[in-house]
Amino acid sequence: MADTSDPAVQDALRSLHPGPTLEEEAHMADEPGVRPHQTDRTCFNEVFQSTPKERGLGGHSVSYEECTMYYHSGLEEREVLFRIVCAINNGTMHPDAGYVLRDCYLYALSKPDGGARPIGVGAALRRLAGWVLMKHRSDDIRTVLTGTAPDADMLRRAGHAGDRRCNTLLQLGVGTPPTPGGAEILFKLCSLALASRPTGAILSNDFSNGFNSISRAAIFRGLRRWFPELIPTARFFYANTARLWTRAGADAGGRELARDSHGVVFGSQEGCTQGDPLGPLLWAIGYHMSLLETQAKHPDTTILAYLDDTYFFDEIIAAAVAALKSGKEDTLRLCGVNSKLTKQDAFSPAGDLSGVPRTSRARRRCRPMAPLASGSAPSRCSAPSSATTRRRPLG
């Protein structure tokens, strides 16, 4: 853990929480004629019957244990809890409650490069309510994120015929069943593609501080298109700045608002708040339009994404490079998220990668990413290059 009272860590955390760009209230307005999300009682019961065993104390100092004990203490209490969850998930909770439920504790993990990785712990009730929603809607989410292809208008805008055959992009990080899990499918797809078409190439793209910096306008645009009933839910949490607390200070019961080294308080004003169970969904929905645009421009390229890790596979290496470039531009334009050049990578078993531009990461070869399953997360690391490799990083 990094010390959040250290000015360097404070500045690092500040730099990861950009200021707001969403100014128009209209972005967050309800979609006319759409009924807000209705909480499913079965999913509510499944989540609250056995919450995780950790305490998970968030801003309002209520733990999972206490939520579960309240749930089990009687039918009336259970009904009260259900109404609270319904109100959170359809955005009808009293606005003052938002100050408590939005807050989250901000911790920092030290990164090998000396930076800080922010970890947020939100209110337990918010997380449980979020899980209820995700459990209920996971099938719909999966359908959208793995079953949407660019429409005819998009293809025409990209300079293709409207009825041209186009691949369906796959976002496998949200809504996929826990077994085998999206990561496993993605890995096997890539392995199979490279083994069956050894002259093709797979290129990867990653973003710099993606979750914290995706524009809320992109998120609400995505919600309006695919999940308009979730707009009130997202608005309840994201219409205002979420306060971030650190454990560094002794004031206010051992916590203080997150500040930079100059003492300026900062909060979560853009992107998804750390620790929000809806964060992966909001990221994926916000990012989906950008991916669709890229897919429309490169209909033959296979685009696979696992949250903020994106992979472009094509039998023609130049086409994969072009898709990566388009993806980078589209994401910046539509989501306001910058690609991290040092995390881009390329691999081809037998293809000629000489046309792939070199960057400072030219010595990097295999790239580990987020963990697949319950095992500990492997760290990102590099290895010396070898003369046998045909792999080159992209710039």
Partner: protein, 561 residues
């Protein structure tokens, strides 16, 4: 890629090896954990970290990467886990073969007598098959442009290397399954029935849940919606575990009868549940010396914490026997008898059952003379358990017995326990509690335990009158190896059914993440209580013996805890 490595197998293997070394480097610190003045559960925590945190960290790579890329790293992973295991149980003084047997047992799942530190090399084939079995259907559906042209079920020589590896793993596993199933089938034949002096037949024991052959899908069915795909890796892993269990049993037969009896005893239901206890609550804490004693007994290792002091002082047990290195004399021959372990276990069992059956469940009822000459440990109206009895207001009477399948003199270990589960204890418990009724007699001729021809003398049980009055009487047997007998497990299952298998608010507070339902909670609590009581009993036996022999005991500082 996504936690694993894609690309050249050699390069990926080297990277994975580095990752394993880095991820398991903290094991060095884990094995150095020790008790403090406040916290006395270092070994319990260490074993859990080894099992739950360290050993599971490799599974995702096995599922995602090809065998050629994971083989070396899996071997290294196993080596590091094995080294930590040996250091935790202080096995360096033992012979290579003893260490080998202990490790082979530790590699088995807890329910099969092991410690749950599964060998990653062994399960790698199951992981490959399990992962592909679940991925084939969504891959074809979601990404036909990538998968459509790839032959997944074609002839082996036409397959891509990764798929060829999958075919080979699948074929090997099916072959292994058939071999184990054949062996189990042979053991189930009548000639392998094991009889005892009460003329009851017992099947030769093997662990339950060996996947039936029809649930192991053919390769061509991997893209189906079969329900057998849901826990497919577990299904295929069980083939490996059952095969390893059977192999170890056969190897132990070559060591001694005592070892086979021990191994079968440790494979019974609930015997290893103490390893699932997380010491977050005092109810589930096992102090380090007791944990080490239990672990040594479970693996058939020298109980090193006690043996040194006992041998130094040439101590003798209360029955005048020299203490052996494996703890059998201490476990059986304590001067103070076995009332302490009985008392502690009955208290726990009663408090658990009371949570399920309420005040209907009575412990050592005072008004028992109306229906029995012997005071029962537990009594409950049979209707509360959903049991129909011959008596109109019949009772369910349970008598708790904690028996050892291995006598103080291990050379005299009866053979029945080497074949059947509870083979050395259940007949004795039944004879004591229920007696041997004329109905079970009748086989004339010389006693032969393999075919049951025998003349059995009638034995009048403690609850003869209760049985005659039509009450339901059951011996609730627990072995000193920790196994809970079927009648006890049935009683607990009835309790679980009544409670909807849900924990009460209080129990939820006491339980940890490893116990999410009532039955698991109950079994773990009983198991922890039994192990603590057994360790305490052995400790007292050693202490008494050493003090009598003029040794220092605890005062001399050579005593654990």
């Amino acid at each position: 890629m996504l936690g694993a490595f894609v690309g050249d197998d050699k390069e990926a293997s080297a990277r994975l090896m580095q990752r394993v070394e880095k991820a398991l480097a903290p094991l060095e610190k884990v094995v150095e954990l020790h008790d403090t003045r406040r916290h006395k559960v270092a070994l319990q925590v260490q074993l859990e970290m080894l099992r739950y945190c360290a050993n599971t960290s490799f599974t995702c790579f096995l599922r995602a990467m090809p065998l050629t890329a994971t083989a070396a790293a899996a071997r290294r992973h196993d080596e590091l886990i094995a080294a930590a295991f040996h250091r935790l149980l202080v096995t360096e003084v033992l012979t290579q073969s003893q260490r080998g047997f202990a490790l082979a047992q530790a590699r088995l799942p807890v329910k099969m007598g092991g410690f749950g530190t599964t060998s990653q090399t062994e399960v790698s084939r199951a992981a490959v098959v399990g992962s592909w079995a679940l991925c084939v259907e969504p891959m074809g559906r979601l990404c036909p442009q990538m998968v459509g042209r790839v032959s997944i079920c074609g002839p082996r020589e036409e397959l891509l290397p990764h798929l060829r590896e999958l075919h080979d793993s699948h074929a090997t596993l099916l072959k292994e399954h058939a071999s184990t199933a054949r062996r189990y089938q042979q053991q189930a034949a009548p000639c392998f029935h094991c009889y005892n002096a009460t003329a009851r037949g017992y099947l030769v024991y093997h662990p339950p849940n060996h996947s039936p052959a029809h649930t192991l899908l053919l390769f061509s069915k991997f893209d189906s919606k079969s329900t057998y795909l849901t826990t497919v890796q577990r299904r295929y892993s069980s083939i490996i575990h059952h095969s390893a269990w059977e192999t170890l049993r056969r190897q132990l037969q070559g060591v001694s009868q005592r070892e086979v009896v021990r191994f079968i005893g440790e494979s019974q239901a609930g015997a290893g549940s103490f390893l699932n206890a997380i010491p977050s609550n005092p109810l589930f804490r096992i102090t380090t010396w007791a944990m080490r004693y239990s672990a040594h007994r479970r693996c058939g290792l020298v109980v090193s914490d006690f043996v040194g002091a006992a041998q130094c002082s040439e101590a003798m047990s209360a029955r005048g026997m020299r203490f052996d290195t494996l703890g059998d004399v201490a476990q059986n021959g304590g001067k103070q008898g076995h009332q302490s372990r009985h008392f502690a276990t009955l208290n726990t069992l009663y408090s658990i059952l009371q949570g399920a059956f309420g005040s209907a469940m009575q412990r050592e009822p005072s008004g028992y003379r109306a229906y029995s000459d012997y005071r029962p440990d537990l009594a409950c109206p049979a209707r509360a358990l959903g049991i129909t009895t011959a008596a109109s207001e019949g009772l369910y009477i349970g008598d708790l017995k904690i028996f050892s399948p291995i006598p103080a003199d291990a050379a005299e270990t009866p053979a029945a326990g080497a074949g059947a589960g509870f083979g050395n204890t259940n007949p004795w418990a039944r004879a004591t509690v229920l007696g041997v009724s004329p109905a079970t007699r009748g086989r004339k001729g010389k006693f032969n335990r393999w075919n049951g021809t025998d003349t059995v003398a009638e034995v009048r049980g403690d609850y003869h009158r209760a049985l005659q009055l039509g009450h339901e009487v059951q011996p609730l047997l627990i072995e000193t190896m920790g196994g809970l007998s079927p009648p006890l497990m049935n009683l607990l299952r009835t309790g679980a059914r009544l409670r909807g298998n849900r924990l009460s608010a209080k129990q939820r507070e006491q339980a940890s993440w490893s116990m999410r339902n009532w039955l698991t909670f109950a079994v773990v609590r009983i198991s922890v209580t039994v192990r603590r009581a057994l360790a305490e009993e052995a400790r007292r036996a050693y202490e008494t013996g050493i003090l009598k022999a003029g040794g220092g005991g605890g005062a001399a500082g050579c005593w654990p805890g």
